[in-house]
Symmetry: C2
Subunit: 160 residues, 2 copies
């Protein structure tokens, strides 16, 4: 999984705290997270393509969330940034070698691919069960209070 | 996930069908699956290091399973071949940027890392719930009958 996923999730939690009718430029999000702006821009563009964030033009423009907090899940972000392709790829090796038979006989999907897909489905289900709204609640108990205060001060300065 | 995982699982299901006191050389396993022998050898060595398979020396030597079928899970094979490192890596970006505070204040683990780890735990749990013994039962319904017959004939020839 690319580090763009980690960045994308963190950005969404920060954008979730924006006052209405405000937005944060990509450069500010990069500054806040201490990550390289050009790479972060790619993640933000991917989130925007997936209609998770939206980009507002103009002097006070930048990124903001495009949907309510409870309608953006971790799965949405992972798939937006890294794509939805499965981790396990079945290359149908059962169709090679001395035991191979004509293609039309391989009607049921290989039991190995099915079992591997079932595990990924469990992973996806768990990611889909956590929204940005849920994350904010748990983050409120894991972000150090001093960091929250410094973050709030930075926000006020940037949005002034 | 590397294709060595797919190969490793398929090899285990083939080795599970070996008569007692027999073994299959890596070259034969590569032939059966139509995959390159040198690469497959790496997966088999990884499975052996994890005590999933064992390697017997000598003229009738080769690989065989080192444990009962119900004590080898998909998770065992995935971890043996690809390692046990998580797909999502938390690089603690919360400790960078203008809101950072001294390291000792980051006591609770980041809620984002916790949520991502929970999803991977669901994936691992599902993989751990499927053994080679389980797979053989479902494979018996997905392997085309003609392929099973050809496979059995190949086995007899190779083990003769």
């Amino acid at each position: 999984m690319s580090e763009g996923v980690e960045w994308g999730i963190h950005c969404c939690t920060v954008l979730a705290l924006l006052p209405p009718d405000t937005a944060l430029p990509a450069a500010r999000l990069a500054e806040f997270h201490g990550v390289p702006a050009p790479y972060l821009a790619k993640s933000l563009q991917a989130l925007t393509r997936a209609a998770i964030t939206e980009s507002l033009p103009g002097r006070h423009g930048g990124y903001r969330l495009a949907r309510p907090l409870d309608r953006i899940t971790l799965l949405d972000i992972v798939e937006a940034v890294d794509g939805g392709q499965p981790a396990f790829t079945c290359t149908e090796i059962r169709r090679r070698g001395p035991a191979r038979v004509p293609a039309r006989q391989y009607t049921p999907r290989c039991a190995i691919a099915v079992a591997m897909a079932r595990a990924e489905e469990a992973w996806r289900r768990e990611l889909a069960a956590t929204s940005i709204a849920d994350l904010l609640i748990t983050l409120s108990t894991t972000v150090p209070p001093d960091a929250a205060a410094k973050g709030a001060a930075w926000f006020q300065e940037v949005l002034a």
